[in-house]
């Protein structure tokens, strides 16, 4: 399936960033992205190429929602049984490897700081606001496409998006 391979290669990195913003950690983000790829390949490989993009958005958002539900239940059980909820993941040693495409150190540091702050602020948003922001601003989906991907009305998308932008601007305008 070379066409599907090309499509997935084109979206996997962006999907990972979206999933990492939503889950707050790389391991869960990888699981979410892998599940989404698997479902697209298993269920929709025979659809037209122009359908893969919107389908993948919908599947990815659905997987993120599933992750949220499981995490909520898991944390509740852990707390109930005297645990502390989700532990922070250990740092992946491969993450320390330098990326050959990175810009000069000061720019890299500034970019990294901006992204760290943006990710932290996005992570604090309610899930639906976060979804609406990422899909509208970064993926460039219009209101109707975003509503389909999120499984909600266009009015809801506008509300979530507007609130997300307002909150993020308050927190980050001077930092980005």
């Amino acid at each position: 399936m070379p066409a599907l391979d090309r499509f997935l290669a084109g979206v996997e990195r962006r999907a990972f960033v979206i999933a990492r913003v939503a889950t707050g950690n790389a391991d869960d983000a990888h699981d979410v992205v892998q599940d989404a790829m698997l479902q697209l390949v298993r269920s929709y490989a025979d659809r037209g190429e122009q359908e893969w993009g919107p389908l993948f958005h919908t599947i990815l958002q659905s997987r993120i929602s599933d992750w949220r539900r499981r995490t909520k239940v898991r944390n509740r059980l852990r707390v109930w049984f005297g645990g502390k909820g989700d532990e922070e993941d250990e740092a992946n040693p491969l993450q320390k490897l330098p990326d050959s495409r990175s810009p000069d150190p000061p720019t890299q540091l500034r970019d990294k700081q901006a992204m760290t702050e943006l990710e932290a602020a996005l992570g604090r948003l309610p899930p639906r606001q976060q979804q609406a922001f990422m899909l509208r601003v970064w993926e460039g989906l219009d209101v109707a496409q975003t509503a389909r991907a999120m499984g909600c009305s266009e009015g809801s998308v506008k509300t979530h998006y507007s609130r997300a932008v307002h909150t993020l601007r308050e927190q980050l305008e001077d930092h980005l």
């Binding site: 996997e12 990888h30 892998q34 698997l38 992204m115 970064w138």
Partner: protein
Amino acid sequence: METEDKFLDAAKRALDTAEKNLDAGTVARLRAARRQALEAGAQRSLRPAWLFPVGALAAAAAVVTIATLLWFSAPTNNISLQANVDDLGLLTAPENPDFFADLEFYDWLDKNADAG
């Protein structure tokens, strides 16, 4: 609105940079996940959707075979049917039934009367 647009552009740039700057380990893991997904899809597509499960086919064939054998092995009783028809003729004839019982004797008598 202009300041909002500037903010959104800056946010988009930060996300674009995050995507470009993913570390080598993450990129390798994503590549592996993609390969696994495509392999799983390829294995699924080797089995055509129209192919019925073998067990169901075998069961259907057995039912048809048994039904056919039962249909063609049902015994036909032509002899008893003919006998019944003959009896009916005898029972409805106007003559005394004893006449028919002695019919062989009268036949013999007829032949020997001509000889004698």
